[in-house]
Point group: C2
């Protein structure tokens, strides 16, 4: 099963997002390719093109629209079959694929963008197979997210690829991430905030990751220079406003992401809620916090 | 009660939003001003500045930090009082306000950014009043949204203004809006899509809004040129790539928005779920759909 990033026009409180950047992020996270043409030019991400409903609507006949598309794009032939009636569209795709085949053009896939994907994918698979076209794959798009994909595959839907757009670039269950810069050191002295529910730890830090047989088992947050066991995660990447190593490319970053995902423990790879990953605070930081609290007079000196 | 748009650093799936555009949208929607300094320069939006926790942390004493801030910004003095302990911060603010007052600098407000806002705002109000400073207002920020504001005001919290950031530019309950361009006419003929759950109406359209005593009572979607009762909402704004009227400014747009909000029926102004606003389809469009369906052979000609 492959994932394709679709063009989207997300409008979020008046902000139009930059689609090639989302495509790049999708590719890095494991998507096979994209329908966003500019992302190939900018980042070398493979294109899996398909047609728009408007293209089908502009023709009087679906079959003629499919044949014209195949002649114009002989290396990338996917038919959108749900504009009027998906099963009629599948039969039009069979006719178009046969006509194109005689001209030496191979049809890769059909795309379903609406309706009951489980029932329709089975019926469309059956129409394609009965007509001797088992090599034509089925691509599904339209409000697809990870929950829908899991359910369709678990139910045995014969779907070869999913196109994901809107629900990739906006999360429904966690639409924003809070983040803030906080002062930890000033004039060589550790600083901290004690605000209720928003207290911070003072000082310069390092995060040390412990692995067992290549699988992450826990992180330790320690004061910088505190020589604890584990692989340090914080490294200097810029100096004097200059990067210290050359930029990587999306394919390399995607391979690195895959290896990192493989080091996640099984319980963190589930879609459902999972136990928290263990993160501990080193005694060095606890001591530093006590020192900082004393220096701002929050607790009495012993 | 006033609303202030706060600086935020929202990170949404790797996309950093352009803060002054969000500020402009907030101001148009009714916010009194912003803490985003660039928005004053770009759009003339009033600034309500306040300090960062890092500023307080950098000083050894809250009172000294407040006094230094007031001397540097004598026209815009709001103290952030929750860095260590909000009630101690309120007493430091009282001392700082008295010292600044002798220098001719008036303190406008204190800001609470954490903790139990209902209890703390009452205690802080009491400290300020008991010290003869009833003119100092209370501003609250920190994960504020419309639900929290309604609850705090209903519970009688003496809060004069709310600063809203993250939950203004990303909606938790409706994080994205689907939108798509669809082909409605091609080569002078009406076109439509019949996809399950995604069918479209063909042809060029006008939307006619009906008002009673200045309050909206319903919209009618009709074919363009179908002379129905109501105020037309669709108007030509560009021709040959040029706008047909000069751009407006945010203050004028905000006034227009306010007048439009006042024309909403009472049931659409509630935070809780409400009945749908009535939108009807004109017989002209229903007829056009039948014609378009016949032309693509979806239904038999009678």
């Amino acid at each position: 099963m492959a994932l394709i990033h679709l063009n989207t026009t997300p409008i979020k409180r008046g902000i139009k997002c930059c689609v090639p950047e989302i495509t790049r992020a999708a590719y890095i996270s494991g998507f096979a390719g994209t329908a966003t043409v500019i992302a190939e030019k900018l980042y070398g991400i493979p294109i899996f093109g398909t047609m728009a409903h408007s293209y089908i609507e502009a023709y009087g006949s679906e079959e003629e629209a499919f044949v014209a598309f195949g002649r114009a794009n002989p290396n990338n032939v996917t038919f959108l079959i749900d504009t009027y009636d998906t099963l009629k569209g599948a039969r039009a795709a069979v006719n178009a694929a046969r006509r194109l085949s005689k001209e030496g053009v191979q049809t890769s896939a059909v795309r379903l963008d609406s309706g009951d994907f489980l029932a329709l994918s089975k019926e469309v698979r059956s129409i394609l197979d009965q007509n001797g076209l088992p090599e034509i794959r089925i691509l599904v798009s339209g409000n697809v997210d990870e929950i829908m994909i899991r359910k369709l595959l678990a139910d045995g839907a014969p779907i070869d690829a999913f196109g994901v757009g809107t629900k990739l670039d906006t999360s429904e269950d966690a639409p924003y991430m809070e983040c803030a810069y906080k002062l930890m050191e000033y004039d060589g002295k550790p600083r901290l905030k004690k605000s209720s529910g928003k207290a911070t730890l003072p000082g310069r830090k390092q995060v040390l990751r412990r692995l067992q047989d290549g699988i992450m088992v826990g992180d330790l947050v320690a004061e910088e220079g505190d020589m604890q066991e584990g692989a340090p995660l914080i490294a200097k990447v810029m100096d004097q406003g200059r990067r210290l190593s050359p930029p990587s490319n999306p394919a390399k970053i995607a391979a690195y992401t895959k290896s990192q995902l493989q080091s996640l423990p099984e319980y963190l790879r589930k879609l459902s809620s999972t136990p928290s990953y263990p993160v501990e605070i080193a005694p060095s930081l606890i001591r530093l916090r006590e020192e900082a609290e004393q220096s701002i007079g929050c607790i009495k000196k012993k």
